[in-house]
């Protein structure tokens, strides 16, 4: 019988055919399982991670099937494992950074500190996460640049995720003159915060006199905004506060210094430039 014909060692034609069938079936099963898993997890896992998970699952099934068929084709798995170990060691030394990136990538996929579409700061690079791959993460900076960061760097550095939480706080320090009514300014700022839809009712906004500065009484203003509206709220509220305070006669003071002269200035300092300059010359002040 042809199927009992030995090709090499103890391997017959039948063994080869069975091995081939197992491999082909395993490929089909792998594709089916991956498709089913993707459908099942579509709503729960984001697209980037789902793709990676799909690939890992696919190759895991194929490799398992390959290990099953190896004895059929006359290869002892124990011997293969030793060979793979030696080769793996050599490759490992030769490609430490690649392995490092791969392992970092796996840990980051499990930890999920960032997701696609989020605004993040990775080691000083600020941008929107465009893609998360097993070996690297790509960002689109706000200037429109494409930046690829190796996973090992992402894993070992500090990551600031600006949109991980649903709300974010806005802080301002607003200086008012020493002779201004601080209570009136606080009340005015609180009314403006209350009138703006995107400044959250809870956590409650806070406005108080924080410190007595060199040139002004400094008010600390803190309110929260939905993270999607944080920048808009932050940028428009400060200007509104400035205009409202000015409208009530509370000017935002600029840095100023009072100079005391040892010798009293003589002459007319009414704003007449000629006489003022003459008075300054007379006192030897330049």
């Amino acid at each position: 019988m042809i199927h009992n014909k030995i090709i090499y060692g103890n391997v017959t034609v039948l063994d080869l055919v069975v091995a081939l069938i197992i491999l082909v079936v395993s490929i089909g099963i792998a594709k089916g399982v991956v498709l089913y898993a993707k459908r099942l997890l579509k709503e729960k896992v984001d697209k980037g991670h789902l793709e990676i998970f799909g690939k890992v699952l696919y190759y895991a099934i194929i490799v398992t099937a390959a290990l099953v068929v190896l004895p059929l084709v006359g290869v002892k798995p124990s011997g293969l494992l030793v060979a793979v170990g030696v080769v793996g060691l050599a490759i490992g030394f030769a490609s430490q950074s690649i392995i490092g990136n791969l392992i970092s990538g796996i840990f980051l996929i499990i930890g999920r500190p960032i997701k696609m579409g989020q605004s993040v700061n990775i080691e000083g690079t600020v941008g929107i996460v465009e893609d998360i791959r097993i070996m690297s993460t790509t960002l689109r900076t706000f200037e429109g640049l494409f930046i690829r960061i190796p996973k090992q760097k992402v894993f070992t550095t500090n990551i600031t995720n600006y949109v991980a939480n649903v709300a974010r706080r806005v802080d301002y320090t607003i200086g008012i003159p020493y002779d201004a009514d601080a209570q009136k300014a606080i009340s005015l700022i609180k009314k403006l915060i209350e009138a703006e839809p995107f400044t959250l009712k809870n956590p409650e906004p806070v406005v108080y006199v924080d410190n007595l500065g060199d040139n002004s009484v400094n008010l600390l203003v803190r309110f929260w905004a939905p993270v999607s509206e944080w920048f808009t709220a932050k940028s428009k509220m400060l200007w509104r506060m400035k205009k409202a305070l000015e409208g009530e006669g509370i000017e935002i003071p600029f840095p100023q210094r009072v100079l005391w002269f040892a010798n009293e200035l003589k002459g007319n300092l009414t704003g007449d430039s000629d006489s003022s300059q003459a008075a300054v010359k007379e006192n030897g002040v330049s």
Binding site: A167, P197, K201, E229
Partner: protein, 235 residues
């Protein structure tokens, strides 16, 4: 204000004015409300439009499907008790084209004060549309263009007294009705042990004969949406 209207339309009610006229193949839409205006052009063979209340969470921007109602005074419920109360909610008005296919929203606006809040903490909480309401024992008199009436049945399923100061609802489950002089909803709040509660909506109106409104959130086919909301961050 609410109901189906013929085109051309020239409608003015209080601080709201809506007009819709045909210009050749185009429908020219104009709306004003509290100093805010909206102009749009439509390509539609529609002969009528629908003005109806919609889920009150999309103005000035649809950033959340949750409505947070803060009660002016705390409500204390004894163990295993049930209370039926009436609270108000903001009314949001939608203008829909009723041509081919599902009703298409042309415009949305509200006379109610717009404000958002956070329910829970910044990391695990939810951004919600904020509304404050008195608790009424009977159906209150309100301006139907500004405020709707929610009949809220609160069931205390705990073995202890429970204090309730707020309720959070999911717009995906809202069933809004209009007509008979009011905009209304009926909802249930089940208080569970551990300061948690589940809110959901009923499919029947407070008064028989009211018309069920278009559900904007139900129109979006989101299979994950259940319409219920579990309040895990306090009552």
């Amino acid at each position: 204000m609410f109901g189906t209207r013929d085109i051309p339309l020239e409608l003015r009610e209080g601080e709201i004015s809506v007009s819709l006229r045909r210009d050749q193949d185009l429908l020219i839409y104009h709306r004003e409300c509290l100093g805010d205006a909206c102009d749009k052009q439509l390509v539609s063979r529609a002969k009528k439009i629908l003005i109806a209340p919609t889920e009150p969470v999309t103005q000035p921007k649809a950033i959340t499907p949750y409505l947070f109602i803060k009660f002016d005074k705390a409500l204390l419920l004894e163990p295993a008790s049930t209370a039926r109360i009436y609270v108000t909610f903001p009314v949001e008005i939608g203008v829909f084209a009723t041509g081919a296919g599902n009703p298409q929203l042309i415009d949305g606006f509200t006379l109610a004060e717009k404000k958002f809040t956070l329910y829970g903490d910044p990391s695990m909480g939810r951004i919600c549309w904020y509304w404050s309401s008195r608790i009424h024992a009977a159906i209150p008199d309100v301006d139907e263009l500004r405020e709707g009436i929610m009949e809220l049945t609160i069931q205390n399923m705990d073995t202890d007294w429970v204090e309730v100061k707020k309720a959070v609802f999911n717009a995906y489950g809202m069933k809004i009705f209009y007509g008979l002089g009011m905009v209304s909803m009926r909802s249930t709040m089940k208080l569970r042990p551990g300061d948690t509660a589940e809110t959901s909506f009923e499919t029947s109106p407070i008064k028989k004969g009211a018309t069920r409104s278009v559900e904007r959130y139900a129109l979006k086919k989101i299979s994950m949406a259940t319409g219920k909301f579990v309040m895990e961050h306090g009552l």
